[in-house]
Symmetry: C2
Subunit: 123 residues, 2 copies
Amino acid sequence: MLIPDAYSADCPTRQVLDRVADKWAVLLLGLLSREPMRFNRLRRTVEGLSQKVLAQTLRSLERDGLVTRSVFPTVPVTVEYAITPLGMTLAQTVDQLRIWAETHMPEVAACQRRYDAARAEAA
Amino acid sequence: MLIPDAYSADCPTRQVLDRVADKWAVLLLGLLSREPMRFNRLRRTVEGLSQKVLAQTLRSLERDGLVTRSVFPTVPVTVEYAITPLGMTLAQTVDQLRIWAETHMPEVAACQRRYDAARAEAA
DNA sequence: CCTTGATGGTTTCCGATGGATACCAAGTTG
DNA sequence: CAACTTGGTATCCATCGGAAACCATCAAGG
């Protein structure tokens, strides 16, 4: 089987890929792989991420066994998110993606400018 | 700088990550890294991918310099998509993601079942 | 005392996005 | 001439994501 089953719609792998190929999940796993963090600190660190989507994404990651959620009855309540061993294996993979983006960003931006310029003069 | 700038909203890296952390882009790059393919064959191979989103995704990938689009004036017209050297470097990275999903899918599914069971008995 | 602030969310509203479907032009085949 | 192929675009509608408001709890400050 040269082409694995991620390409068939009913394969569970597809669902895993859905979760994993998410911008916010990539950034959150990258952060949590360094150290456990709390809700509002994650929120402040990842610019542009709303509370709602942060809560949703963290719950998905928790359901998938990639992060743990620990509540401490302090005041105000403290909720700490930490990465699991399974999540750590994924974090190493997705971090390559972030590194690729940071490395090749100038080249991609140059291609975009060329593409846009070509289309502008065609119009 | 321990935490790179992908976490700031205005960094171009974020835009690159947006494109790259996309389920369909991952699957398409995986296919095109093996061989050039035409529009409808991609559409048939990637189950669940609509024509509209396929066209949008391919145009984004072309704009980013990751794939090339070649039109041959046959009848009916033939349009072939091929990966670029830049796209090849990315394909190797995102393929790790697909492989991770296929490898760890059973473990993730088990975590999901445990999570759902725990929530069901709590309710 | 009572407002302000922090904690970690949920709810509401609205604009953007994605999927399904129909449609298009060109031309070959039945 | 009708149907089917190619590679799309246009339209409609459901869902999704972001912005902002709201919630409870308690601590500190005026």
